[in-house]
């Protein structure tokens, strides 16, 4: 499904979207993007006004909340509102946007609020149009899977399947070749190779569960080869639209516990200077998701419990690693059965 089909479907949900930001330029540009996509948008400049809207019971409201960049007070106020929303409207759906550089804002948000949707954008720019409209559309439609909507029309897509851990090195090499041909610099190529390695390992060792939901290989040393069943293929997709490169790895188990995902990434950041950051016991190191988030600019996780889990990583194809690192981080976690 393309991004425009998804957006068209989501408009039928007739949900109003409130864009909350004390900063006029951010608010107006974000609201314009959403109006241009066909949504009815409320612009809310003031956090107290937003509180009134929420307390008045506008339950069928999707909120886009600007948590700012470097102003700690504004940041804290916005996150207080996010917590209030979660408290008084548990079914409300919230997208946080921020202009803070690198992973800093995301790390701070993670420490204070378990966000599922966080979109970073550059100071002076508006929120990235495709990411904002897609996030809104996916929340409203529940159509959450697929790499293609994140890439422009005519994107080149390559797909592979695997069931054997012994095939992983070949696929990692394929990912690196794809990134190289897309024009990525050597450091980014290497990072994408690492990202695919971690995602494939996760799909082969952590994702498989038995009929009772017990993990089949999670405690296995990763040097022990595994082979999945005939109908348990892991799918790897690579896409490039001339500017943005994407990688998606999906498994047919849908066993990822979404409530653990944000906590797991947050833990790796919080324990960065502590002895227990890395699991030295049985199973994996507990770093795979953290690594993946570090080597992409936008991480999307889609889960249909018991049926499918998909990890998508997106990044701008550039040769400069510094330019890549300066890009704001974005994160989405879509759970087909849970409130966003």
């Amino acid at each position: 499904m393309t991004s425009s089909q998804l957006i068209a479907d989501s408009q039928r949900a007739a949900t109003r979207v409130a864009f909350i930001s004390p900063r006029a330029a951010v608010r107006q540009s974000g609201a314009t993007i959403l109006r241009d996509a066909g949504y009815e948008v409320l612009e809310v400049a003031d956090l107290d006004a937003a509180r009134s809207w929420i307390e008045d019971g506008h339950a069928n409201l999707l909120l886009v909340l600007d948590v700012g960049s470097d102003d700690e007070d504004a940041f804290s106020d916005a996150l207080s509102l996010a917590r209030e929303v979660a408290g008084c409207q548990p079914r409300s759906r919230l997208i946080l946007v921020s202009q803070a550089e690198g992973t800093r804002a995301f790390e701070l948000v993670l420490q204070r609020y378990p966000t599922k949707n966080f979109l970073g954008f550059k100071e002076g720019d508006s929120v990235e149009e495709r990411d904002l409209t897609l996030t809104v559309a996916k929340i409203l439609t529940g159509e959450i899977f697929g790499l293609e909507p994140y890439l422009g029309d005519g994107a080149e897509i390559e797909a592979r399947r695997l069931r054997r851990s012994d095939d992983k090195p070949n696929l990692v090499e394929l990912v690196e070749e794809f990134a190289q041909q897309a024009g990525c610099g050597p450091q980014i190529v290497q990072n994408l190779g690492l990202a695919s390695d971690e995602l494939i390992t996760n799909a082969l060792y952590n994702a498989p569960v038995d009929a009772d939901g017990a993990r089949r290989f999670a405690k296995l040393d990763r040097s022990v080869p595994v082979v999945l069943g005939d109908d348990e293929d892991v799918e790897i997709k690579l896409g490039f639209d001339g500017k943005r490169l994407g990688i998606a790895v999906s498994d047919p188990f849908g066993s990822l516990r979404t409530e653990d995902v944000v906590a797991q990434i947050a833990r790796c950041y919080e324990r960065r200077d502590e002895d227990d950051q890395v699991n030295l016991g049985p199973g994996g190191a507990g770093l795979g998701l953290y690594y993946f988030f570090n080597v992409v600019q936008h991480l999307v996780i889609n889960v249909d419990p018991g049926k499918r889990t998909e990890f998508i990583g997106l990044l701008e194809a550039t040769r400069s690693f510094r330019r890549f690192s300066k890009r704001r981080k974005s994160f989405n976690l879509f759970d087909r059965q849970g409130p966003e």
């Binding site: 690198g102 990072n191 040097s223 324990r271 890395v278 994996g284 690594y291 690192s325």
Partner: protein, 158 residues
């Protein structure tokens, strides 16, 4: 992962590590190569790749280095240096002697790496100019505070 012993007649023993630091990397040979030495230099210049399973194996190795042994890492590749800033206790009982810094040329979009002694580095970086093959100056292609985060830890533990 492949381990080779250097043939230096003088100075500390040099051991070369090459290939992939991953789930298949065994440190048994490396442990036996360095056992009993007071000072060892590990040359990492030919490492090609590392994943989280390799990081875990490396941490187990580095943490078990005896306090009275000095293990100096030289020619640390860029991907290895990044692990140091991302993962706690990555260095364990080792120290960085020299490392590669990445550079980028805005003029021709090319990239390169250059080797530096860790002892001569500090944040903010003050480097001699690195010139691209096209003749234009190249810029350090990382975030200094992130990439060189280990310098603070290393100097604190000295």
């Amino acid at each position: 992962m492949r381990v080779f012993r250097g043939d230096a007649a003088e100075g500390p023993k040099v051991v070369y590590i090459a290939g992939n630091l991953d789930e298949k990397a065994s440190f048994a040979q490396l442990r036996s190569e360095i056992a009993g030495d007071a000072e060892v230099v590990l040359d990492l210049g030919n490492l090609e790749r590392m994943n989280s399973a390799g990081v875990r194996n490396w941490i187990s190795f580095a943490r078990d280095i005896p306090n009275d042994m000095r293990v100096v890492l030289v020619r640390c590749p860029v991907f290895f240096v990044r692990q140091i800033s991302m993962v706690s206790r990555f260095l364990g009982g080792t120290e960085v002697g020299s490392l590669y810094l990445p550079f980028y040329c805005e003029a021709c979009d090319d990239t390169d790496e250059a080797l530096y002694d860790a002892a001569g580095l500090s944040v903010p970086l003050d480097l001699r100019e690195v010139t691209c093959a096209c003749g234009e100056p190249m810029a350090f292609d990382e975030i200094e505070e992130n990439y060189l985060r280990f310098l603070k830890r290393q100097s604190a533990s000295e």
